[in-house]
Structures are given as structure tokens and as C-alpha cells.
């Protein structure tokens, strides 16, 4: 199992994809922070760092990138046929799944920390330039970052499970994005009392965005964890039976 985990980390490190994702994340978050801070009402910028609006960019984007990382984990292997040598080297399929969960979780931690780092690197100097006295509570800041990491890691697991279940990369990614960006949004208008328990809403609840309309972060994390469990279990059952032809 340790060998398999090391192999999965090596898989992540040996294609450009993860670096491209990191670079993309840095660009998107950086631009997002610039946009939110320059457009913001001056009063809103007076909040302590952990409540700065510009942090919402990281809190939204990093989990999404984590999800994509997870979705690609198995679908890349099915797409390129590398699942065959992977399973020839280690035919114990649940070990492959376990190792991918660990490796993508590691990737998720890296993505969320990178997002936070770039947010502050870009955001804090802008605040200073605007002459704002920058304040923060270390405890609350740490809690925010921890919740972001937790959300991103849970999203990677959901991605790994869904990718394993669906197999087809484009279908898995397109289907998930359509659900999160369109279907959930529409349903939240139609049946808000049910939609608040959907995965996307649960994910937002974990990181505490628009927290008045949402569940508490802890309940959101539990719910998101339950979704991750279902996705991974579905993938595991299908993988155990599936013929790799």
C-alpha cells in the first residue's frame, strides 16, 4: 500500500497537469483578488483578513480545482489506457483507490494552501496601498484555512469516486460542472429547502460563504463527507466488478 501511495504521488508529480493546475489557480485567484479589492466598497475592506471578501475567491476556486484533480485521477488512466499497467503491477484494486484518495488529498492540500498564499500575497499589499490598517485574528484565520483545506480534500475524494464510477473523462467533468454551476443553482431557486443539502451548497457551507442561507460549516463538512463516502463507495463497488477490456 505504501508503494502504491508513493506511485500515485509520483504520477501526480510527473505530468504537467498538476503544475498547469497550480499555475491556472494562481492566475485565476490573483486576478480575482485584484478585481474584488479594487471594486469593493471602501468600508468592506476594513474587515479583518479572515473576513475579507477577496478571500472568497480562494474559498470558491480551490475546492473546484480539487474536484477537477480528483475527477482526473481515474479518468486519465481510463482515457489513456494506463489503468492496465497500473492494475498489472498491483491487481488489488481497493489499494489503487485508497492510494489515489491519499495522493489527490495531498494535491488538494497543496492547491488550497497555494490559493490562500496567493490571495494574501496579492490582497494584503493592495489593502496597504489603500491605506487600510490590516488586522486579523490568528485563530479565526487558521480556522478558515483549515475549513478550506477540508473542503478541498473532500471535493478531491468526491472527484475520485465519481471519476471511477463514470470512467469517461469528459462525461464526468462536464456532468459534474453542469450540476454544480447550473442545475444546483436553478434548483436552489425552485426548492431552496431541499437544495441547501445538495453537494455544492454543502461545500459552500464548509467554507462559510454567504453563511446566513447555509448550514453551519461543521454540518456542511459532515454532509459533504457523506457525499464523498457515497461517491467513493459507488466507485469502489463498480471497480471491483468491472472488466478492464
Amino acid at each position: 500500500m505504501r508503494n502504491q501511495i508513493a506511485s500515485e504521488f509520483r504520477k501526480l508529480a510527473t505530468t504537467r497537469s498538476i503544475y498547469a493546475m497550480l499555475a491556472g489557480l494562481i492566475v485565476v485567484v490573483g486576478l480575482g483578488v485584484v478585481a474584488t479589492t479594487t471594486d469593493a466598497e471602501p468600508g468592506s475592506l476594513l474587515a479583518p483578513l479572515e473576513h475579507q471578501l477577496f478571500l472568497n475567491v480562494s474559498l470558491t476556486i480551490a475546492p473546484l480545482f480539487g474536484l477537477l484533480l480528483g475527477l482526473r485521477s481515474f479518468t486519465d488512466e481510463f482515457r489513456y489506457g494506463s489503468i492496465v499497467p497500473t492494475l498489472l503491477v498491483n491487481p488489488v484494486r481497493r489499494q489503487i483507490l485508497g492510494a489515489k484518495l491519499v495522493a489527490t488529498a495531498g494535491g488538494g492540500v497543496a492547491l488550497s494552501l497555494a490559493a490562500v498564499a496567493i490571495s494574501f500575497t496579492v490582497g494584503v499589499p493592495i489593502l496597504v496601498l489603500k491605506g487600510i490598517d490590516v488586522t486579523w485574528s490568528t485563530g479565526e484565520l487558521a480556522a478558515t484555512v483549515a475549513l478550506l483545506v477540508a473542503a478541498t480534500v473532500l471535493w478531491t475524494s468526491i472527484g475520485v469516486g465519481l471519476g471511477l464510477a463514470v470512467k469517461h473523462q469528459v462525461a464526468a467533468i462536464a456532468g459534474t460542472l453542469v450540476w454544480l454551476l447550473a442545475v444546483e443553482g436553478i434548483l436552489s431557486g425552485v426548492i431552496p429547502n431541499v437544495a441547501m443539502y445538495f453537494p455544492g451548497a454543502a461545500g459552500f457551507a464548509v467554507v462559510g460563504i454567504n453563511s446566513t442561507e447555509l448550514l453551519t460549516p461543521v454540518f456542511g463538512a459532515l454532509l459533504l463527507g457523506a457525499y464523498a463516502l457515497v461517491a467513493v463507495a459507488t466507485g469502489a463497488v463498480l471497480m471491483h466488478r468491472r472488466d478492464i477490456a
Binding site: A6, K11, T15, D76, S82, V84, L87, V89, P91
Partner: protein
């Protein structure tokens, strides 16, 4: 062969080759209503190159995938050294397999592809470089595998198969995409590997290359075993004599009486099977039939193969 020169091999593993390297028993695989493999049984032994022959769609790839634990059989069993593949304690050190050309991420370098696989089975990094040299990919090792030619991809696949210094090689259509030089290289590699007491199971629908590669032949058609025999026997059994005579009818009757297989061709030629030229000559002499021509026609492997699989299709 360099393939086995560097890695230590415990004596326990050597001893275990007493049993067949690969054993397939009563194997059946149904995909919906299609029987891809139908009650198939055969064994593959160490020290021998076994050719796994059959037309496209005969069930070769499915069988190999069942042996390798990628596909679950509907009925029957397939074992490697007496164990299901999925239960092997060290699969890469037991079996090396090449199933298809494209089985790597095109954005990962060939060397990193092997490093990823080596890491998963605890094989040291230096073995990766040894294998790259063995399959002749050192120069391209750090290029993305997506840029490789078909032949280079096959070599990369073989490299992955050889990483663990296995005792058994399973190759599905390995000559696809190799140039004549590559085919010779493959043949030398495979023959050398078997000569060291290892087992090889190699499938093909291109039979010309089998003639110089395989010792044993397993012929399947529509998922069923048609024949398992030494390759030389497969060709000699289909040997025929061509007899030219003005009295084809009489000679045919006489030969038939003596239990030989006779086929009368349109131009008065007889195709006789089951006897050599001397015997047929004597029979003609006894029957007082003039013989204008008597020649041995050793049919090619391709003919023998077509004959076998066509019979089945009838």
C-alpha cells in the same frame, strides 16, 4: 540475455515453476449473449514459447485479460503458477505483460512511466534505466511518451513488462507496429527469455512471424480450442502430396480404399494426405496407374491455420 542478469531471484521462485506457468481450465466468458471464450482449457509451460493463435475476434485478448486478472471469467479458472493473478504476492516479479500499444499517459515521459510502475512494486530506480537500455529507448527516455512512434510504444510496453524481471511473459500481438528489424529484436528477446527456463505466451493473428518464434501452438477460433500441438506438427500434419495422373478416378479409389485422404481437383490432380511419396508411388504401381507427377507440398503455417479455423467455422 540482459533481461535477467541483474536482479537477484530467490530460489523459492525458481522451484515454483514445477507447475504449469499458466493454466486455463474450462474458461468461459460471456459478454451479454456473446461467448467470447467458450470452455477453453490449455497450459503454458516454462522453457517454451507458446503461440496463441486465432483470427481477430477469436477471444485471444479476452483470454489473456482473464489470465491477468483484468477481466472476470463467467465460468472456469485461469491461474499463474497455480494462483489467480490477483492473489500473486509479487505480480511484476512473476508475470510481465504487454496488452496494447497505448497504455500510458502521453504527457508523461517514457522514463517516468516506468518510474511510476517501478515505484508501485518497490523496484529500484536503477532497474528503470537498465530496462530502458534493454529495450533501446535510452535516447528517447525523457521525451513525452505521446511523441513515440508505434514501435517505440511497443518497446516501452515491453520495458514495463520486464521491469520486475519476471518468469513469465504474456504478449498480445507484440509485433504490431514493429519494423522488420524490431521484429527480429523481439524474436531474439523472446527466444532468449524462454531459453533461460522462463515461459512465454504470445498471441498473434499474423502467423508468418510465429513460424520462427513459437515452439508450441494453441489455436483458438470463436473462443474454442481448435488445436494445441507443437508448431512443427501443426504444419507437417497438413502436408499434402500432389499427384498428377491421367487416371485420377482409379487412383483416387485405390488410395481411398487404403484409408488415405484424397481430394480430386478439377484439372485431374489428386491432393493426398496421410502418406508420404513412396507409399503413394507404390499404391499407384500396384494399381497400374501411370503417374506423371508426384510432389510434396508443405503447406505454410498460414494454410494450416486457415484450414483449422475454417473447419471450425463451418
Amino acid at each position: 540475455m540482459g533481461a535477467n542478469s541483474t536482479t537477484d531471484r530467490p530460489s523459492v521462485e525458481r522451484a515454483s515453476l514445477g507447475s504449469p506457468a499458466v493454466s486455463v481450465r474450462g474458461l468461459t466468458k460471456r459478454f451479454g449473449s456473446v461467448r467470447a471464450v467458450d470452455d477453453l482449457s490449455f497450459e503454458v509451460h516454462p522453457g517454451v514459447v507458446t503461440g496463441f493463435l486465432g483470427p481477430n475476434g477469436a477471444g485471444k485478448s479476452t483470454t489473456l485479460r482473464i489470465v491477468l486478472g483484468l477481466v472476470a471469467p463467467t465460468e472456469g479458472s485461469a491461474t499463474v503458477l497455480g494462483m489467480p493473478y490477483r492473489s500473486l504476492p509479487e505480480p511484476t516479479k512473476t508475470v510481465g505483460a504487454v496488452l496494447e500499444t497505448q497504455s500510458f499517459n502521453p504527457l508523461r515521459s517514457g522514463r517516468n512511466h516506468l518510474r511510476v510502475l517501478a515505484r508501485a512494486s518497490g523496484i529500484p530506480e536503477r532497474r528503470v534505466d537498465e530496462v530502458l537500455e534493454l529495450v533501446g529507448l535510452e535516447a528517447a527516455a525523457r521525451r513525452n511518451a505521446g511523441t513515440y512512434s508505434l514501435g517505440m510504444r511497443q518497446r516501452l510496453g515491453l520495458g514495463a513488462a520486464l521491469l520486475g524481471d519476471p518468469r513469465i511473459l504474456i504478449l498480445d500481438e507484440p509485433a504490431n507496429g514493429l519494423d522488420p528489424q524490431g521484429i527480429r529484436w523481439l524474436r531474439d528477446l523472446v527466444r532468449g527469455f524462454a531459453a533461460e527456463g522462463n515461459a512465454v505466451l504470445v498471441s498473434s493473428h499474423v502467423l508468418a512471424e510465429m513460424a520462427q518464434l513459437a515452439d508450441e501452438a494453441i489455436v483458438i477460433s470463436r473462443g474454442r480450442l481448435v488445436r494445441q500441438a507443437p508448431l512443427s506438427k501443426l504444419t507437417s500434419d497438413s502436408r499434402e502430396l500432389v499427384v498428377v495422373t491421367p487416371e485420377a478416378g482409379r487412383l483416387a479409389a485405390a488410395l481411398h480404399e487404403r484409408g488415405l485422404g484424397v481430394e480430386t481437383k478439377e484439372d485431374g490432380e489428386l491432393h493426398v494426405s496421410g502418406a508420404d511419396a513412396a507409399r503413394v508411388g507404390m499404391i499407384a504401381f500396384e494399381t497400374r496407374v501411370p503417374v506423371l507427377g508426384l510432389a510434396e507440398k508443405e503447406s505454410s503455417l498460414e494454410d494450416a491455420f486457415l484450414e483449422l479455423t475454417e473447419e471450425d467455422a463451418r
